[in-house]
């Protein structure tokens, strides 16, 4: 079990998808398809929709919060977001979704070493920020 710092409260369950490299959501994720669309990113083509998405960090454009909001509106958002470093840009898209009456998702900050130690497969995120792998249920 890992306990993360809660950036946006919520619970979620989904397959753990760990990106190997920081990403810019703007130009890096397609809100229409929920796929990593930056051809230079090592995880190009990876599906993030519905995933418990773990990111070592984010880079690049400050338009990434708008892309996060679009992912939510289009139903292509991750189920939950686990970030190696706190980011006011992507998580903000989730906060704004809440203000506009759209669904939200939990966003946690977790040291990347702890993320790397998480087991493969489905994980659960609880409201208090705990993350459990399937075998720990």
């Amino acid at each position: 079990m890992v306990r993360g710092r809660v950036l946006v409260r919520g619970d979620a369950s989904g397959p753990l998808v760990r990106l190997s490299h920081p990403i810019s959501f703007w130009g890096g994720v397609d809100p229409k398809t929920g796929l990593v669309c930056d051809p230079r990113h090592p995880d190009h083509g990876t599906r993030i929709a519905g995933a418990a998405l773990a990111l070592p960090g984010t880079v690049g454009s400050s338009s990434s919060s708008a892309v996060m909001l679009e992912l939510i509106r289009e139903g292509q958002a991750p189920a939950g977001l686990i970030m190696g470093s706190a980011d006011a840009i992507v998580a903000l898209g989730v906060v704004v979704a809440g203000e506009l009456g759209l669904p939200t998702l939990p966003v946690l900050q977790v040291p990347w070493s702890a993320v790397e130690a998480l087991p493969e497969g489905r994980i659960d995120i609880a409201e208090d920020g705990t993350i459990r792998g399937m075998r720990e249920r």
Binding site: P39, G60, S62, A66, A88, E99
Partner: protein
């Protein structure tokens, strides 16, 4: 909520300044808590990135603020929108896209923002003083405001930029705080030849490499010439903010907080030292192109938006010749107005150059739908072009771009890179 609010800030949160300010304050407080900010800081100005249409969510947000009576509390400039309001015929794309983009742009005007529509507000008279607290969005503008102007901002994304503008506050964290502005990484570029450092084409490549090296940390670059131009620093910062999260870089002997390497390091030892080598520079140059094919179908320049000096360089490179390929030069309307007044805009149009205003070819469908290979001298276009336009990209200097467009085939001066 863990952030401490003043009485006045609490009144805003409680709705005493209207629904829009209350919503902006709630989002600001949520962000401040996420960022671990102890309190908010008063800001002098804002630059809003959130006026660019990425989908209907941005329109809903802006119109919710307008409906709540939102007005900006500080002077606020606007980043590019998804329309060229002066040349609407340039834009392909469907009617829904155009309608929503227009609604989003209009909502920000209704809130009292200046219609600058540029990613380079610092070329449109928005130049905060050294040490001034501001809240800016748009990654290149953030890097420029912090690094070149010495103002203090964090990277504010869409939404938070508007919330700062409406409340006149930002979370006190990160680069708003003096002690976080010292460099932790020393980047040594002294060995690179002076002839290379004198060329504009060096800077987007250096920036692209730098972003990958330093990520989100603050660095000081040692070894750039004292007469490095503002446009070169702009290109460096824009590229570094594309490949990394660079929001502040110091250039020893050049930028306001770096009279010396030691001053930029705040008197500490650097945590890391990085040396620019010929092979790492070559790797960064190669990485900016996604194809090795000797083909060019269109040329785009002006990310960040072209300055007066860059248009001058474009005219000089054209030397009265006409381009054969579609050639797009993106800029803001302040620079464009000066170009029109001087007659330079007409001469560029006669040479076949399409001047794009208020937006750019990477955020708006302007490039020919046929696709192919786009040549650019912008590190930022080279980085975001492939995913956003579907074009392959080949990077070269402005002169290379002009020669290629005139000849209709790829022309690159490789000798520039000999080191």
């Amino acid at each position: 909520m863990s952030v401490q609010l003043t009485q006045e800030e609490r009144a805003r949160l409680d709705g005493q300044h209207g629904d829009a300010v209350a919503m902006a304050m709630r989002i600001l407080v949520a962000s401040a808590d996420m960022l671990g900010a102890a309190r908010l800081v008063e800001i002098e100005s804002a630059h809003i990135d959130g006026c660019l249409y990425h989908g209907d969510g941005g329109v809903l947000f802006a119109e919710a603020l307008v409906a709540g009576g939102g007005r900006v509390a500080v002077p606020t400039t606007l980043n590019v929108g998804a329309l060229d309001l002066l040349h609407p015929e340039l834009i392909r794309g469907d009617a829904h896209h155009a309608e929503m983009a227009r609604r989003q742009m209009e909502a920000y005007l209704t809130m009292g923002c200046s219609p600058t529509w540029t990613c380079a507000p610092y070329q449109a008279g928005h130049r905060p003083a050294p040490g001034e607290q501001v809240a800016w969005g748009e990654s290149n503008a953030v890097a420029f405001a912090n690094s070149v102007l010495g103002a203090r901002t964090e990277r504010y994304g869409d939404f938070l930029d508007a919330c700062c503008a409406l409340t006149g506050r930002a979370p006190l964290h990160g680069l708003h705080i003096e002690e976080n502005r010292g460099a932790t990484i020393l980047v040594d570029v002294r060995p690179a030849p002076a002839s290379l450092k004198a060329r504009d084409v060096f800077y987007p490549v250096l920036g692209s490499w730098l972003g990958l090296q330093v990520g989100r940390e603050v660095c000081v670059i040692d070894g750039l010439p004292r007469d490095v131009t503002e446009d070169q620093l702009k290109a460096l910062g824009a590229a570094a903010a594309s490949t990394g999260s660079v929001a502040l870089f110091h250039v020893a002997g050049v930028t306001p907080e770096a009279p010396s390497v030691e001053a930029a390091l705040h008197g500490r030892e650097p945590r890391t030292r990085i040396l620019l080598t010929p092979s790492s520079l070559r790797e960064a140059l190669d990485r900016l192109s996604t194809t090795r094919a000797p083909q060019v179908d269109a040329v785009a320049v002006g990310s960040p938006h072209f300055s007066d000096a860059e248009f001058q360089a474009l005219s000089t490179a054209l030397a009265g010749r006409r381009v054969r390929l579609p050639f797009f030069a993106c800029t803001g309307r302040e620079v464009f107005a000066r170009l029109e007044a001087s007659g330079a805009a007409a001469r560029l149009r006669d040479a076949g150059v399409e001047i794009v205003v208020d937006t750019c070819v990477v955020v708006t469908p302007i490039l020919p739908a046929s696709g192919g290979v786009l040549m650019t001298c912008s590190g930022k276009f080279a980085h975001y072009g492939p995913a956003n336009t579907g074009y392959e990209v080949v990077f070269g200097g402005l002169e290379d771009c002009v020669e290629s467009a005139v000849e209709g085939t790829l022309m690159r001066d490789e000798a520039v890179w000999s080191w």
